[in-house]
Subunit: 558 residues, 2 copies
């Protein structure tokens, strides 16, 4: 059978987060595979309470492990590398990335006790990494973290450009600028670009993106005009922003103090790997606490309202000896990711109660995005002249809008969501298979399936409360009349004004007294009858039906 | 003791939602009281899973019921009238409002089986409602619902202007325009305005607000340019918007179909009370389903992503015989309230998967706010020349910013949050008391306290899962060795690969065998020991500690 080139997203296509993409080349069903990125996304109370991390279900990769050549990581953001340590054990293939990304990947592997010697560090293009039928180059692009890279993937069926996350920034402050000359070359070499797989995050942003460099002066003006303690928060991995903030603070005569483990780690990794230079000296929280308030600037984690990050800690009171006060200033040099608003507002209100003056990104004055906007995406289409465009890294509506943009300009395109395998060696993308895919949840230390019912049960208990009923059947197969009911997350008293648990117990006692042997002898039947009574009584008393767990204990004859 | 005028917010001050304000006049501790608005706010999974409605705890009003003269309702939004039926039984005083608001208040009372004859309908100023020492007038203001009213509250200590929710709209399409002449009179009468208690919602919006009327042409252009079925969603109570949308549809040659109970009810109430005229005829969903797609426009509920509203239903597939398809258009003529983003994005993605083209408010092209912006608020300060300004209806940061605005212009002001009683008869607000206040939750049909621990238990079960342990102690006070463990919302298997429940049971069996009488005979001690073991085993196996409920059954000697 003829060889073909395939593309299969397992995560990140139809959502923003947990990126995991697969390319394959070879005979159908026997393609050799490479994996691009293994990222995480974060749970929320609505859909995944108690879940620490969410990642793509890689069962298909596990089943086809002998076909996988390698894993490539485009950059060090959590949604691209965060699942590496958790999922590597299921794949166990070499990991290729650049130095800074490699340092972060190493931490992810170490955290999970995985062998770090499988991480291979590469220089950018022109270095080529061979992985079976794939020849891969890392091409520097600008983004909100250093060393973000697009991948040039050359295959016998043509060249793929996989952009990773990128923006068009000629002056990214830290890290490498977007270089149109290189991209022009990439488009012209050989047969040109067969497939452009392209970041879609900002497809709805109508104006050209702005450079990181434009923030320096506004941020300096901002810090200069504050009279007391200044706090600024942004993503820990946005090292360019960290330096811009720190330099503004120093220029305004302040000492810089970094709060938050992730932020200190990023700066350390940045310095160690050489991507970050000229970072001003910092002081410890203890030193900062002893300095006059107008001589300090804190740069802190928690711009998304994360409960355990430094911003949240400061909003709750004294933290590491530092306490915010009336007249202090707190800048969110960030954008609130949709879904995180509640957490951010909670913190802002608490800061406001302390008398702290709040400042947000102010329509882009103090923040720029790390992703290409619509005109930038269009410019990349123009520059690369691909034979087809596959939109990636976006909610379904982003992918669809990106597809429409490509098609309007005569480039074949398709919305390819997680689990859809498309052949991309032809003139246009063509669906060839659907893979069962889904999400894995990290719950404590356990990896569970999103569809296992565990999280569903948690959501139901949270919405409906939980009633537990203990029934004892004696040695002669007679139920003891006093069923015991414990309620968790349910009103103590109902409409009747008497305790709800007691009310259910009475109904159950009555039922157990007259229950026939057929019911009593059958666990399922008995459980179902008991559950029904507990739910009915609750419905009458408090207007809702709780989750019910019935424990039946049968005493053995001695 | 000298009489004084007091202000006490019980809800709505330090949050947006569940408005409930109290004014009092008289000797300290014996003031006669009026209540302004009794609204609700909605729960979310993060803070109140399973809770249907949230409202102010009115225990203080209940304790001081004999001092209350009346309840006034400014307008018919849920956050102002939604708790009336639920809380009226605790207050039992006359309710005063205007006609349209009264029709909605009546529905709220009826739903809860409360007597509607306590609702008194009034004409706007110059009609005066007497309530003890208070002389109250309803003054029409523009807002996103008809008949929104500010209250002029004349007292022996001077005039209060309580704005309610308002914007400065001279052409509100439906309902009454904001009339600066009236406001000028109000400021000049008698001793002028002692206190302005003022909406703070949009204090951070720097530009003057825009009129509802500006939307007519863009909405018409929008509908005209669509080729297939058009769906538009907005707040059901925004009757002006409903008519503008419907008129755009009719002008574009389409039949209008309203989907969603709340929306049909609002239009009916609007027509019945005379505030809504010229609403185009509508067709039923069945008729709509039979018409060509380009001849129909649906106007539907669910702009905030509510799971049971029409938008969500349509995003899940066929609803009332109508199914959205490739090429249909869906307009959100609304702003997503912070915190609702996840629900809205979920619907938008599902619509996108159906091939539906999505349109949002597009920077205000298809939506205007119902609240006064910063320059409008400033204009009202100028117009009324109050001796003091009390910011209300806002998160803490809104109230604080509003206070700063007033103070910068030389008007005494203060951030007064829920539960703070201030004297407002002097030259500036002065705190005189703090009232224990909080939130009541409607859970099914039960009203529970936010701090009762019920919701806390639900959140804990959702985050940590729930393990139930049943222990039986026999007639001779010996524990039966086979403890039974049921898990809910927890991984089945842990690190060891064996069932977690079985693992806990083994540990418990071992413990029960060697447990001393002192532990076995004491329920609390035994429960604590069992809980500790269950949590320890879970921590080792799955890296997290579940909530544990222990049921101990002691068999009676026969």
């Amino acid at each position: 059978m003829a060889e073909r080139l395939i593309y299969l997203p397992l995560g990140g296509a139809g959502e923003i987060g947990m990126n995991a993409y697969v390319y394959g080349y070879g005979e159908p069903g026997r393609e050799r595979l490479i994996v691009i990125d293994l990222g995480v996304t974060f749970g929320d109370m609505d859909t995944a309470p108690g879940i620490d991390l969410i990642m793509a279900d890689v069962a298909w990769l596990e089943d086809n492990r002998d076909r996988i050549e390698a894993i490539f990581i485009t950059h060090g953001h959590e949604d691209h590398v965060g699942a590496l340590g958790l999922l590597w054990g299921k794949i166990q293939k070499p990991i290729h990335c650049r130095r800074f990304t490699g340092a972060l990947a190493r931490l992810k592997m170490e955290e999970m006790g995985q062998p770090v010697e499988h991480i291979h560090i590469h220089a950018p293009r022109p270095e080529v990494v061979s992985a079976g039928p794939f020849q891969v180059q890392f091409v520097p692009v600008s983004h909100s973290i250093p060393e973000s890279s697009a991948l040039i993937i050359d295959t016998p069926a043509g060249r793929i450009v996989h952009t990773g996350d990128f923006k068009l920034d000629g002056t990214p402050v830290v890290g490498e600028p977007f270089d149109p000359i290189t991209w022009h070359e990439i488009a012209k070499e050989g047969q040109g670009v067969q497939v452009l797989t392209c970041d879609s995050t900002n497809i709805f942003s109508p104006n050209p993106g702005r450079s990181e460099a434009v923030l320096a002066n506004p941020l300096l003006d901002f810090v200069m005009s504050q009279r007391q303690l200044v706090v600024a928060t942004t993503f820990a991995s946005n090292i360019a922003r960290l330096r811009t903030l720190a330099e503004a603070g120093v220029a305004a005569g302040r000492k810089i103090c970094l709060l938050g483990r992730a932020m200190r780690r990023m700066v350390t990794v940045g310095i160690e790997t050489g991507v970050l230079d000229r970072f001003p000296p910092v002081v410890s929280p203890e030193e900062a606490a002893d300095l006059p308030r107008d001589k300090v600037m804190l740069v802190v984690t928690g711009s998304q309202g994360e409960r355990r990050a430094a911003s949240a800690q400061l909003s709750r009171g004294r933290y590491l000896g530092i306490e915010l006060k009336e007249g202090d200033s707190f800048l969110f040099s960030s954008r609130t990711i949709p879904g995180n608003e509640r957490g951010v507002i909670r913190i802002q209100n608490q800061l406001s109660e302390m008398g702290v003056d709040l400042f947000d990104a102010d329509d882009g004055m103090y923040h720029v995005s790390g992703h290409a906007n619509r005109p930038d995406i269009q410019a990349v289409h123009d520059l690369l002249k691909p034979r087809m465009v596959i939109p990636m890294h976006g909610e379904h509506m982003h992918l669809r809008e990106h597809m429409k943009l490509a098609e309007a300009r005569g480039i074949p395109s398709m919305v390819v969501t997680n689990g859809t395998m498309v052949e991309i060696s032809g003139a246009a993308p063509r669906v060839v298979d659907h893979i069962d895919t889904g999400r894995l949840y990290l719950d404590g230390t356990a990896l569970i399936g999103a569809m296992d019912g565990i999280v569903r049960d948690r959501i139901r208990m949270a919405l409906n409360g939980h009633a537990m009923v203990s029934i004892i059947i004696d040695e002669d197969d007679n139920p003891l009349p006093d069923a015991w009911v414990e309620l968790s997350g349910l009103p103590e008293r109902g409409r009747a004004g008497v305790p709800l648990a007691g009310n259910i117990e009475s109904e159950l006692a009555e039922f157990l007294e007259r229950a026939d042997d057929r019911t009593v002898m059958n666990d399922d039947r008995l459980e179902e009858a008991v559950r029904k009574i507990a739910r009915q009584v609750s419905m009458e008393e408090i207007g809702k039906k709780p989750e019910v767990t019935v424990i039946i204990s049968r005493l053995a004859a001695e």
